[in-house]
């Protein structure tokens, strides 16, 4: 099942043009507030009618020049930023509004058992979002839309809901379109990323490909540019965790995850140091043998040094002075030293 979106809409001062495909898995729509991300999701749900284009789920056309399916006929699940639970119903009535099949499993999965007879007014923000997520999933949607579901929550509440989002995302088996402008959620959840700026799609692709390309750094906050690697917990030894990735083994401090679990690593480009020879006696845990594939300018006048480590790509942000001092050239072998940050189940 593939969700394909290709729409045009005039929204006040914003000309929205968005075309992308969302396969099974999580497609993140990333961009600043007001860029048009929510409008795209509303168009998929049928809450906003584009001026032209086409939206289809597999073979089923939801919208085109001659078709406009109303929201209740689209079979989409929608989790709103503000939860939108029905205030006059109990949690259980809210959950089963769109379908009761699988209620018990959902209640267990989302930890909602103690809340069933309560009403939304008495729930915390995190509890509300868990109910909203369960309610959307119980309607057995063919596509799940999440519009900044964590944006209204504070730090601890975000951390409370995120694992549920990750687990349901993995098990839902349908395309998931997830709107956010929070990098941590992108790294944690995204399989695909679609970057939207001022109503236009400026970049799209698999998250790891997009993050490995320095040219996409200008779409992210200063600290957020840098490669993202998927890895698997291989073993724990000597108080460290060994992860296997396409770039080779990567060490993390502490005992992280259980063996076999997969998680994401974020390697911010500003945190990668390069040396032309292997150095003994340095404190960073990771030193990978890499080859320079390209050196390109960044908008902030620094240089991006793209690297290949075995089958993975990463990059480092260096000042022109450093690049000149080391005499770095494409094709050259260098060692990359970095501290990795793991994101995912711990």
């Amino acid at each position: 099942m593939m969700l394909s979106v290709d729409i045009k809409a005039r929204l006040g001062d914003l000309d929205l043009t968005a075309a992308f495909e969302a396969p099974v898995g999580v497609t993140v729509l990333f961009g600043a507030s007001g860029a048009g991300k929510s409008s795209v999701v509303n168009a998929i749900a049928g809450l906003l009618r584009p001026d032209a284009g086409r939206i289809a789920l597999g073979e089923r056309v939801l919208f085109d020049g001659s078709t406009y399916l109303r929201p209740h006929r689209r079979n989409v699940g929608y989790v709103f930023q503000d939860a939108r639970l029905f205030p006059h119903m109990t949690v259980q009535q809210n959950l089963t509004y769109g379908g009761a099949d699988g209620l018990n499993d959902m209640v267990e999965l989302l930890g909602l058992r103690p809340l069933l007879s309560r009403r939304p007014a008495g729930l915390s923000g995190g509890e509300k979002q868990r109910v909203a997520l369960g309610r959307a999933l119980l309607s057995k949607p063919q596509v799940l839309l999440l519009d900044e579901p964590l944006a209204a929550l504070d730090g601890p509440r975000k951390a409370e809901v995120l694992p549920y989002l990750r687990d349901t995302a993995r098990s839902a088996g349908v395309p998931i379109v997830y709107v956010t402008h929070a990098m941590a959620e992108v790294v944690e959840l995204a399989d695909q990323i679609v970057i939207i700026e001022a109503g236009k799609v400026v970049r799209k692709g698999a998250l790891e490909d997009v993050m490995a390309d320095p040219a996409s750094a200008r779409h992210f906050a200063k600290r957020d540019g840098g490669a993202v690697l998927s890895c698997r917990v291989a073993r724990h030894e000597g108080g460290l965790t060994v992860l296997s990735s396409d770039a080779g083994d990567i060490l993390l401090p502490g005992t992280v995850g259980t063996i076999g679990t997969s998680l994401r690593l974020s390697i911010p480009a500003q945190d990668v140091m390069l040396t032309t020879q292997e150095i003994e006696g340095q404190s960073a845990l990771n030193m990978l043998a890499t080859t320079i594939t390209a050196i390109s300018p960044l908008p902030n006048d620094n240089l991006a040094v793209s690297l290949k480590a075995k089958d993975a790509a990463l990059w480092a942000e260096l000042t022109p002075t450093s690049v000149a001092k080391l005499g770095l050239q494409p094709g050259q072998a260098v060692h990359a030293i970095f501290k990795a940050t793991a994101i995912g189940p711990t």
Binding site: L47, P71, H72, R74, F80, F86, H88, R119, A121
Partner: protein, 229 residues
Amino acid sequence: MTFGPAFWEVVSLSLQVALVATLCALPIAIGAAWLLARRSFWGHGMLNGIVHLPLVLPPVVTGYLLLVVFGRLGAVGALLFDWFGITLAFRWTGAALAAGVMAFPLMVRAVRLGFDAVDAGLEAAAATLGASPTRVFLTVTLPLIAPSVLAAAVLGFAKALGEFGATITFVAAIPGQTQTIPSAIYALLQAPGHEGDVVALVVVSIVLAMGALLLSEWLNHRITQRRLA
């Protein structure tokens, strides 16, 4: 007459007229309020004007217009009589019609406030869960505007109970047929020696109006409390 059969006849007729008027006008008022609050269409302003006419016209004029339209010879009245044998003019049903028409604008206004206050996002959420517009209205919108519907019912009931001008013009004040509390008070004031009866009817009016108000406050309180449980 005080507290005699004639007295209770006036009171029970008034209650009957006001209740029937309120219950019949309420669904139509909800429909009109929905159209005005939620739909944009050609003639929106016109409909709004027509709904409010009984509020701004002299009640005698409204009564006269009812007589013209619903009288035995009126456009609608003749049809009702020919097809169903229904007569409204000078019957208690006519009094209920007059009271309902006069209460209608107040009820529409009260319900409309409810529609304006409902978060349209909740209705959108219900639609994404597969609920048809009818189901959304019955399971989400209507329960959420229940306090406003209640307020509209009380307001309409009080207005219907006190309606005088249009009623007396349309159906006169026939004892046992169309003589409600206001027209009875008016008739009693025309002849000397009935001050006691007038006071009794005034007290009953106050008790009924206050009772309706308290009942609605209590129901409203219950609805809100349930939502916070």
